[in-house]
Structures are given as structure tokens and as C-alpha cells.
Symmetry: C2
């Protein structure tokens, strides 16, 4: 297929048609898989779809049933419109939209009637000019107001509806005299539509934004715990594997922190909707703002995990036999860290204060061990002036060279990374030659990006440097854990979490934790 | 005011009224400042507001002018509605919404007429049942479809409009016989509304999403350059200052990378809208997808900068007199880095290929210098077993203690960070005492979060560790720069950037660069 052959247009068309028919044969399967996956990921979606269908059928009855139609007339359409536009996935979103819509309509109606009242007493021409001017001024001012950060965040939809309604009423009041009567009739049908939406959203399988925010926070904590554990394990386990592995979505490290990094807008939307939802308990307001704060701290923790992950993909690497010296203390610190994160996740999930044991002596002892290990190997932190280190480097270089050769014998042509300065000199002379042939943009493109890789690997940095960075970042994550604990404690205080009972502690131990992870993973997909 | 006194309700009311009147006196000033700031940040907002006002006035004329009204009738309202709903800030957003709306309406209309045709031949009761069932099935299926990721990303609004229109037509066709005529009449007014929107958005001071995407990319690159420079300068300049400084929005480091970190959703929205905009040139498609890719790479670079920033705020710090040894090479590497980023930003801004000099010998030489500096101080990388290092630590500890004492004498009570194990022991004994008085949740809260801080500072980690992390992260950023260069080159290739001319190079040198930064900063606020 790769060969270029003179194919007649007819054959080409035939091939295209065949490809198309192949595709359309596969389409039903693909569609079915998508339908299935979307529903499986979050079964509440099916519930929501059925709720919308049911609501629409209910308001259509206003129109379809003879006795109801006589009372309401043409205006039943407005109930249908209200349901389509207002009924959203979560209760908070529906309330937010519905109230925005109601407020916008009310304000617009009042202002429109005021405008109409002023215009009424004048002549027809002046009235037209007055209405035109009002439309222009209100249109401009309202649109400009939508750029105010506070309004945009909270009332954007309401302002849009205000503008829409104001224009509709003002303009139609010019020709129609009984606007008030029309508005009155419409009001009833819109109220019916809103009522159907409210009943559907609040009483029939309600879906709460607050719950989503709560669950997503738990999932993010667990994701970070899993990510940091996977990251450290990979650092000490297998140096060959990581080189080929890219930042694929299947990478457990990336999967763990991915959800945290870009969570800002999602968190804020959920919190905004949650703020419209009715209170869950009598003596505690729902602490949606605290979840947003906790989300920010988690994101910050996530950035450190990304940096830690970066250590795995870095150009200069501490050889595996040096890393092994610190494997046990590092893994211990990581286990304690991830245990603490898991306990925090569990405490939020079960709405109870977290165990006073999370920052127990274990974490401190693990840090102390790491410290001791670092102190016991002072030679590692010498530069390459030192004999042993130079030897290590030599070993590492030899290893790298031999593995490169192996790769070449396997027929794979890799860009040649040389660990000495000759590569750089070679590159420089190449560039000198190319300097005058400016048109070879493609070649320049291929060459340039590798320069700094060559430059970095050609340097004889102390090979302990990358490990020091890794260890330092690990210690940094422990420090960041503090901020998370602080915010979770604050959340527990505001949201009146249950007191911690010593019996709950069992969840933290290793066996039960693993079971919880799997359970969560399931609910994680449900929570999106 | 802080004292609690028995104040009568009258006085209380008086005070409240006074506060309210104070507030309302300040309100006009506050409002005016907001209005002014929103307009100054991006003058195009004023233009957009005026465009909306003008468009609304134009379509209102359909209703207000006698001759036009006779031809069009009540349906002029639909033109107003179309303008309010479809006219968006950028051309891409308007086109996206308008075409979605058009497509949705067309499909819904066809399906509704098909339904009506089938239902027409049957009795009135069966017809009502049939319409009710159709509303339910289509409502459920359409709502479910909105959860498909592909549909949600591209056609969410269109599907909503489809649902709305389908219901309106199907339901009203039950009682009204001349639906086709009504639809026909409305079609004209909607077309007029769309026409006004198109003219306003494409020909009168058009605002392009693509331009915004382009500018925001330039600004992000410059922000990163400034951020990394400020970060390294702060690391070497003033160790006292950074301790008090929080992650405030005025912090130049934070300000530089803030825009990059949470740019994902904004980038994607802009790219989606840009994809609907007409092509800018004949032989190149607009590479909006490449901008999104570049944005992802920039975010990844940003995470490393965050980690670098974290080094400034870390609990364990390398003493300043050790850092000074590496100041010059580090600053040199940083300057080269930020120069390269600035050149990339300039190349994108001027839509030309970037100078072949960006990854010049300078960056390599700077790295080599840093390497030499690290090698020339092998003792620094010894653990605290080593004499000199212990001395350094002792000096640092003494320094920290004395500065703490100074603070205390000034009357400021700081939480006592002790650099030895005694602090930890003290804490432990305190916790033992508190263990049984579980109700003192508040005290527990204050105590616990500081434990790991104490634990970390009480460890005698090699003080070179944090500096090693800093240096390693700096080298890491150089490696990440490669990815950025690669994506920018790719962007240049796809978007047919101009060839680089040697004369353009002058921009990179230092003096001109500074001027550019200020200019940009202005346009940066305009680009939001």
C-alpha cells in the first residue's frame, strides 16, 4: 500500500467506497460501545436522560390534553422551553440556572414596563426613537457588565436572560397593547415548567454537585497517593523500562496526578453549583469554598509529584546501583506518605476527623532513616573529582554505550547520544557547514532540538545530583503534606465531621487499604 | 469596637445604617473603578458591547419602522432573540454558535415534520400518544447523547437547540395546522438576525479567537521567562525576604507561571472557536491544534518552574554563603534560558522562524560553567559527617536562632522552629498529655500540622541536598526547553512562518528585550 502507483480514478473511487462501507459497517459497533461506556462510567447519566424525557412529556401534556389546553392555550410552549433550558445534570446547576433565569426575567420585566410607561405618554415617532435608544443603551451596558469578573462568575446566565427578555418585551410593547396580559399568561406556564424541573431535580433521584465535589476530592487524594507510590517504585525498580515509556494515559503515575492538575475550572464550577444547593444539615453550612481551597493545595502538591515524575524521565540519571543504596528508606517514606494521603481520603469519604496517627512516628522515623542513609554514603555526594565516583561514572558510561550498541545491532537507529564533548564538537562543525545553506530548514529542525540533550549528557555532572534532587523533592512532598492536612482539618471543622473513633483506624492498615483503592476506583469513574 | 458591650437594638440599627450608607457612598467609586479596569484591561470589550447594542437596535428597527413591520409581522422578535443568543465576543465563537444553532434547527425541523407526517394519518388520540412517545424518546436520547465526549466538546449547543426546536414544532403542530407557514416566516427573520451577527462579527472590528490563542501563547512564553529569571535571582539574592513572602498574586514569580498552569480549558475553548474561523491565508490552515500542543508542553515546563519556586519556600535551605559559590554560573544559565524563551516568544509574535542562535554555545558554555563550579566544590556535597559541612550547619543554625531571637525581642511571637531533636521530643510529650483529652480538637489541630515541619528541620540532612535539587531542576528546565523549541518549530512549519533574517536577531539582545517585555506586558493584559 505504501508504494506509489498510477491508480485510475475509478479504482480510487472503488477503494474509497469500500473504505466507507467498511467504516459504516463498523459504525454501529462503535456507537454501541460509546453508548455503553458513557452509561457505565456514570449510570446517573442514564437517570438524568430519562428525567429529561419524562419532564418534557409531562409538560407536553399541557398541550396535548384537551381540558388543560383550553385553560392555557398557546403559551404551553413556554413550559417546554423552560424545561429544555433549565433542567441540568445536578440539582445545584438547575437551581443556579433557574434562579438566574427567574431573577433576570423579573428585573427585565420591571425595567421594560418602566420604559414602556415613560414612552407611552409621547408621540409615536418619539416613542420609536426612545425605545431604540433604550435598546441600544441597555444592550451595550448589559453586555459590558458581563465582563465584570464577579458577574461573569455568578450571574452570567441571568444577565443574558435579562437582556433577552428586556428586548422582547420592550420591542413588542410598541405594537401590542396587552403586553401585561401576555406576560401574565406566560408567567403561569413558565412557573409550571420551573415546578416540574424543581420536582425532578430535587426529589426524583437527585444528583448533587456538592456530592460530586466531595467525591472528586477523595479521588484526587487517592490518585496522588497511588501516583507517588508508583513513581518511587518505578524509580528504584527498573531503569530500562522507563526510557521507552512515554507519558501515556495508561501510565499509572500520570493517571494518578492527571485529574489533579487541571481540576481548577471543574472544581470552581462544582463549587458554584454546590453553593446554590439546599443545606444538607441544620447546623453546618456546606463548605464548598473549603473544597476549592483544598483543591488548590492538592494541585500544588501535584506539581511536586510532576517534578518527581520528571526525575524518572530526566536526561542525566543516577546509576541504579547507587540508587539501590537508598531504596529502602525512600520506599518507606513513600509508603508512609501514601498511607497518610489514603487516611485523609478515607476521613473525607466517611466524613469523620482523621486519625491522630497519620503524622505518627512512622513518617518521622522513615525520614530519619533516609537521613541516616544519606549521611552513611558521604562519598556519593562527591563530584567526579573523587575516584570512586569517577569509577561509577565510567561504569555508567560503559553501560550506556554497550546498551546503545545493542540497540544498533537490533537494527534500530537511535539518535546517537554520546557522553563526551566530541558529540558537541561534531554538531558544531555540522552547523558551521549548514550555516550558509539556509534553505535546509527541515534539517535544521531535526538537528537543533537535540543540541541541549547532547550538551547535558556530555557534561560530567556529579551523578549524585539527580538523586539528590529526587530525595529533596521527596522530602518536599512530606512538607507539602502539612498543607493538605491543615486544609482537611479545617474542612472537618467547618463541615462538622464526626469525631474519630479508634475503631476506624483499621482502615489505614495495608490489606484493607488495597480493597478500598479498588472500590474507589470504581466510584472514581462514577464521580466524574 | 472589639469590646463586647450591651448595645441597644436602636443603636445597633443606627450603626448598621451608617455602615450601609458608608458602603453606598463608596459604591459609585468602586463601580467606576471596576468599569474602568475592565475596559482598560481589554478595550475590545467596549467595542464588543457597542457592537451588541448596535445590532440589537438594527434588528429592533424591523419592528419599529412601519413599512418593515408590515412585511415581517410579529416574527421580528426572533431576529432579536437570535442576535442576543448568537453574537459572541470572538468571531469564532459566534460562528460556532450560529452554525450549531442553524444545524440543530434544520435537523430538528426535518425530524419534527417527519414525525408530524406519520402522526397526521391517524386518529387524534393515537396522534397525542404518538407525539408524547416521540417527545419522550427523542428527549431521552438527545440528552444522553450530550454526554458523549465528542459531541459535548463540539456540538453541545447544537444538540440543545435541536431538542428545543424539535419539541416546540412537534408539540405545536398538534393544534396548529399551518406550522410550515410559521416556520417559513420565522426562517426569514432568523436569517436576518444571523446576517446582522455575521456582518458585525466578521467585518466590523472583528475579534479573532485565533489571535487570542496566538497572543496568549506569546504571553505565556514571556511569563515563564520572567518567572524563571525572578526565581533564580531571588534564590541567590535575599534569603530573609522570601520567608515572609507568601504566594501572593503580586509575587513576580507566581505571576509569571500562574497563567500557564491553568490554561488548559481556556486553550481548548479558544482552539475550538479558532477552528470555526475562516482561514487567514490561502496556503496554510490555521494550526490551532498545534497551539494546544504547545500549550501542553508549556504547562509541563511550568510545573518544573513551580518545583523550582518550591525550592525557595522549602523548610531546609542551603545557607546563603554556600549558594553564593554557584551564583554566577546559575544566573548565567538562567539568563540564557530566559533569552531563549524570549526569542521563541518573539518568533511567534512576529510569525517568523526563530533564530538559529537560540540554542547557541552560550547555553552550553553556561551549563559547562555550572558543571565546573559544582566539581570545584566537592566538599559541599559531603554529608554532615564532614567537618566543614557540620561547621556550616552550625553557623546556619546559630544564624537562624539569633534571627529568631531578634524577632522575639521585637515582640513578634513566631512558632518556634528548633533545628534539633528536642523540639520533636517536646511535641511528643505534649501529644501524650493531650491524647486522653480528646475534646480539645482545636488544640490538636494547631499542633499536628507543625509536626512534619519540626521533623524535617530537626533532621540533619546534608545542606547541599536542597541546592543539588535546585541545580538539578535548573538543568531539567534546559532539557524541557527542547520540547518547547520542537513544538515552536513545528508550529512555524505548519503555519508557514517567515524565514528568519539575520537582521531580526537584534531583538534578542538585552536592551531591546527589556523594552519588548514592557510592551508585551501591556498587550498581555489586552490579550486576556
Amino acid at each position: 500500500m505504501e508504494l506509489v502507483m498510477p491508480i485510475s480514478a475509478k479504482e480510487n473511487l472503488k477503494k474509497n467506497m469500500k473504505a466507507f462501507s467498511e467504516k459504516s459497517k463498523r459504525f454501529p459497533g462503535l456507537l454501541w460501545r460509546t453508548v455503553w461506556r458513557v452509561g457505565r462510567d456514570d449510570p446517573r447519566r442514564v437517570v438524568h436522560a430519562l428525567k429529561v424525557g419524562l419532564s418534557l412529556t409531562l409538560v407536553s401534556l399541557l398541550y396535548l390534553l384537551e381540558p388543560l389546553f383550553k385553560g392555557i392555550g398557546q403559551n404551553a410552549i413556554w413550559a417546554v422551553m423552560t424545561v429544555v433550558v433549565v433542567l441540568e445534570f445536578t440539582a445545584g446547576a438547575t437551581l443556579c440556572k433557574g434562579l438566574n433565569r427567574g431573577l433576570g426575567t423579573l428585573l427585565a420585566g420591571s425595567l421594560a414596563f418602566l420604559t414602556g410607561y415613560i414612552a407611552e405618554k409621547t408621540g409615536l415617532v418619539f416613542r420609536a426613537v426612545f425605545i431604540g435608544a433604550a435598546v441600544f443603551v441597555i444592550g451595550t451596558a448589559t453586555t459590558y457588565m458581563r465582563f465584570f469578573p464577579y458577574i461573569k462568575r455568578n450571574y452570567d446566565y441571568g444577565v443574558l436572560i435579562f437582556l433577552l427578555t428586556f428586548n422582547l418585551i420592550t420591542v413588542s410593547s410598541y405594537r401590542v397593547s396587552n403586553v401585561l396580559k401576555i406576560a401574565h399568561e406566560r408567567f403561569y406556564t413558565i412557573a409550571i415548567g420551573c415546578g416540574v424541573c424543581l420536582v425532578m431535580t430535587l426529589f426524583i433521584f437527585p444528583i448533587w454537585s456538592g456530592e460530586d465535589l466531595h467525591n472528586s476530592t477523595v479521588i484526587k487524594l487517592e490518585g496522588l497517593a497511588k501516583s507517588i507510590e508508583a513513581c518511587v517504585n518505578e524509580y528504584f525498580n527498573d531503569v530500562e523500562k522507563e526510557k521507552t515509556q512515554d507519558k501515556s494515559p495508561e501510565d499509572p503515575i500520570y493517571k494518578g496526578y492527571k485529574a489533579v492538575l487541571d481540576s481548577k475550572s471543574q472544581d470552581e464550577t462544582l463549587a458554584l453549583h454546590a453553593s446554590w444547593e439546599p443545606r444538607h444539615s441544620r447546623h453546618c453550612r456546606y463548605p464548598w469554598q473549603q473544597y476549592v481551597k483544598l483543591g488548590a493545595v492538592l494541585r500544588h502538591f501535584g506539581y511536586t509529584v510532576v517534578a518527581l515524575h520528571g526525575c524518572l524521565q530526566s536526561e542525566i540519571q543516577t546509576p541504579q546501583h547507587c540508587r539501590v543504596l537508598f531504596k529502602d528508606p525512600c520506599i518507606r517514606v513513600t509508603n508512609e506518605l501514601s498511607k497518610a494521603l489514603m487516611e485523609l481520603a478515607n476521613s473525607i469519604r466517611n466524613r469523620r476527623h482523621c486519625s491522630p496517627e497519620i503524622l505518627s512516628d512512622n513518617l518521622h522515623e522513615a525520614l530519619q532513616d533516609l537521613n541516616n542513609a544519606l549521611k552513611s554514603q558521604p562519598r556519593l555526594f562527591l563530584g567526579s573529582n573523587n575516584n570512586q565516583a569517577t569509577n561509577m561514572l565510567a561504569v555508567a558510561a560503559a553501560h550506556a554505550n554497550s546498551s546503545q550498541k545493542r540497540e544498533k545491532y537490533n537494527g534500530v537507529s537511535l539518535p546517537s547520544f554520546k557522553t563526551d564533548n566530541s558529540a558537541l564538537l561534531e554538531w558544531k562543525s555540522k552547523r558551521m557547514n549548514n550555516e550558509h545553506s539556509r534553505s535546509e530548514a527541515a534539517e535544521r529542525k531535526v538537528l537543533r532540538p537535540q543540541l541541549s540533550k547532547i550538551a547535558i549528557t556530555s557534561l560530567e555532572f556529579s551523578e549524585a545530583l539527580p538523586f539528590a534532587a529526587f530525595a529533596s523533592l521527596l522530602v518536599e512532598t512530606v512538607a507539602r503534606l502539612d498543607n493538605i492536612i491543615e486544609e482537611v482539618e479545617e474542612l472537618g471543622r467547618i463541615a462538622c465531621f464526626k469525631e474519630f473513633k479508634p475503631g476506624d483506624e483499621v482502615i489505614v492498615n495495608f490489606k484493607t487499604q488495597k480493597v478500598n483503592v479498588t472500590l474507589n476506583h470504581f466510584s472514581s469513574q462514577g464521580g466524574e
